[in-house]
Symmetry: C2
């Protein structure tokens, strides 16, 4: 696709040349301005047009990141932090050109403090890499976006996933960060103490800042003990509304579900086809409970009673670990399942989140809208948090289909905001959601965010064109 | 005590006069520059000298707060937000003079969304007021600093308390805030959605900002269901170290204790005398478990086994609700118990927090230091978080005692920082901890905080003289 950013560069060609020369000299084969690599670093899982950076550099430590940032700052050349490129809102695009800082070689697990339930990792470590490493110690890190994303990228986008209903999001599971700011200074945001009231919460300011305030160079994460017992299961419902109502009742009852995920009929069909699940093709909740053997059994029984009240069931429990793994792999592969079912079409990612009490209503109205608009658009969601994704499948060569989808997206976000919700529960703003930020936060709060951005990055070199509307 | 701030005022007397005239005219009897009221608003529970504001105003709604801020901003007169004045680090002192904005009349519970487990409150609502209101609905708000503080003040100082080990701190339990910034604009930091990735986390930036970025005018809080079963108990140990080791083992085992509090021998004596507990005078853990009947029993049994491994026990369980209430009232009255035991002496508040693995070592070294320094200094702590308070009792008329205490405080903080901890787990920085902020965060992170402060409050009118070193 077109690099539409070429026209919006604010720096001179000689500045870019100076930066590239210096990086080539310092990084040798770990620097490249080759077209294939550039294109690969603009490839995001989204319908947004790709906008390649001018070059890509692969630092191996924090000092090198600081060198890159200082060099770019001196020449006014943008920096685009890159983890795994699995962001869904164009986070790694380079609308103003610049240098993609690929952290994939910063993939060391620096320390695991099992006794403190925390781990220190470099930003390129992926969530699966960390969990593979932790398993023998009986620990895990719960945040699981669909992709095997890097932990630096997950922190930058305030990611969550299926476990957030029980374990929170990245906001709740990052204890501390190290980052290189736009001025080239390296900061550490907090100690390893479990709580602190010592000054502004720079940790939470950087979590979700999408690379616009600094490049994350180290993440200290909160870990959790692998529960003594885990049980997972699926529960069919007669309608999406019945499933959502059961979710609402479950959460309100105080039942500490570890996962409670909605798949609509279309998504169940796609998952059956892609992952061979063999499920009845009706709206379905996927669930998981964590606890002691007795606790898990008690929770399952209570959920069964709640589901029955809303006409749901029967439960099918995945008693063996491999069955459970298959179930959640299918859930995580939802994106690919949908993609493979409608080959040639592009998925448009959506990500609204509303207060739980409005969930059933929001999903029901959205279903009517999907049908009225004539879209093919499966629904899947972390419904325990009030967060769901509609995934319209669009033929990008058909302008009328694109227009219809755009109208639907606008209405979806307006609906969520009108219900005291947000335009993005976990994907982040990136490029795709910038236009909604003012409606969601209001002009004064947006102005406060922009004042912070200007204070920490006055030249605007950190991942420009993201979060803030033009 | 002396208002030592009179010399550091940066505004002209006529500016102050103009502000006072305008406030008197708008607020009538809800404004006063009377000495008694001013002194009362500088009275903090600390050894820091009181520094009274020039006047006190009692707004009743957000619009009035915005009026006050705009007026003060126009004249460069400082604003000191005031909740209940129970802060421990001089947060409500007025070292540069200015107007104390007392939010006690903004004490309405705006909405309780039981189905979403959240409540919207004005900043002057206190934690006990909210919990009294919620009880009939089977809900509660867990954060419990010792005092019956205002929820606005608790948000501003990132407060926590005995329940934080299970329910987190204010950072984890504030969903959204409304605030008046220094420019007089009113912001809302987030929607009521349980999670969001839409831009910078202004909520967490304001939580813990201690009134230096804005006046909090509304707080949306996360609520929790009152557990089906609650059991509390006390468990004696042979030494503080044995108690701390038992705490570490308990948390590491994944046991979800709701409260786990250490009282050293001196504190147990004070609590016996003040609250009539009749406990054996030895280091003691106070505990509470939340869950189902079966879950609570299971947890209690597991804790009993762990305690026994460290020579602790026997347990005494408070089976009746009134016994449990008495126990926690005694814990919350620790400050007053100590105060009444050594009448005439002043308590110096301390508040370090270290990674759990370092807790036993930190407490043990601190005990040696207390003894070597010859201080009377009980220890009490939210030890499940690695957070503990030493409360030296000082005769403020004795310079050598003050000097000895100051040396001890320096060493205590240095010890905590050397163990990757923080100088304040929950009290905040205020005036008292400013000198430690650079050592804890490093110059670049402190500079980033100051850049944010300047961006949002360029004239420095919001609670000056707090958080940042001179």
């Amino acid at each position: 696709m077109v690099n539409s950013g070429a026209n919006s560069r604010r720096y001179q060609p000689e500045d870019l040349a100076a930066v590239c020369d210096a990086l080539a000299s310092q990084f040798g084969p770990r620097f490249s301005a080759g077209q294939a690599l550039r294109d690969q670093h603009a490839s995001t899982l989204t319908w947004l047009p790709a906008q390649a950076p001018d070059a890509v550099v692969f630092p191996e430590n924090e000092g090198e990141v600081a060198d890159i940032v200082r060099l770019c700052a001196r020449h006014g050349v943008p920096i685009i932090p890159y983890g795994t490129g699995t962001g869904l809102e164009g986070h790694v695009n380079a609308p103003e050109g610049g240098i993609s800082v690929d952290t994939s070689r910063m993939n060391a697990i620096v320390a695991v403090h099992a006794e403190d339930l925390d781990a220190v990792v470099q930003p390129g470590v992926t969530r699966k890499q960390l969990n593979d490493y932790l398993r023998d110690q009986g620990l895990f890190f719960p945040i699981d976006p669909g992709a095997d994303a890097s932990l630096g990228g997950m922190a930058a986008t305030r990611a969550s996933g299926t476990n957030a209903v029980r374990y929170g999001t990245m906001k709740d599971n990052v204890l501390s960060l190290r980052a290189v700011l736009a001025n080239g200074e390296i900061i550490s945001t907090a100690s390893r103490a479990k709580k602190s009231s010592a000054g502004y919460d720079l940790t939470r300011l950087l979590v979700g800042s999408e690379g616009t305030l600094g490049v994350i160079t180290e993440v200290t994460l909160r870990l959790h003990g692998i529960p003594e017992a885990i049980s997972a299961g699926v529960c069919p419902f007669g309608s999406e509304k019945a499933a959502c109502d059961a979710v609402i009742a479950t959460i309100q009852s105080g039942l500490a579900v570890a996962r409670i995920e909605l798949l609509d009929t279309l998504m169940v069909k796609a998952a059956n086809a892609y992952s061979g699940l063999g499920l009845p093709e009706t709206p379905m909740l996927f669930l998981e409970f964590h606890g002691s053997d007795a606790g898990v059994a008690e929770q399952a029984e209570r959920f069964g009673e709640i589901a029955a009240e809303f006409g749901g069931g029967p439960f099918t429990w995945a008693t063996k670990p491999e069955e459970r793994t298959k179930l959640w792999a299918a859930r995580h592969n939802a994106y690919w399942a949908v993609k493979s079912m409608w080959q040639g079409a592009e998925i448009v990612a959506t990500d609204v989140c509303v207060p739980l009490s409005r969930l059933a209503e929001c999903v029901a109205q959205t279903r009517l809208d999907i049908d009225a608009t004539g879209l093919i658009a499966p629904i899947v969601g972390h419904v325990g948090d009030g967060n769901f994704h509609v995934q319209p499948m669009i033929d990008m060569s058909d302008p009328s289909e694109i227009a219809a989808c755009e109208g639907f997206l606008e209405r979806l976000v307006e609906r969520a905001l009108a219900m005291e919700g947000t335009c993005t529960g976990e994907h982040g703003v990136g490029q795709g959601k910038r236009k909604y930020l003012k409606a969601e936060h209001g002009a004064p709060a947006l102005a406060a965010m922009q004042a912070i951005k200007r204070a920490l990055d006055p030249a605007g070199i950190m991942n420009p064109g993201k979060i803030f509307p033009d």
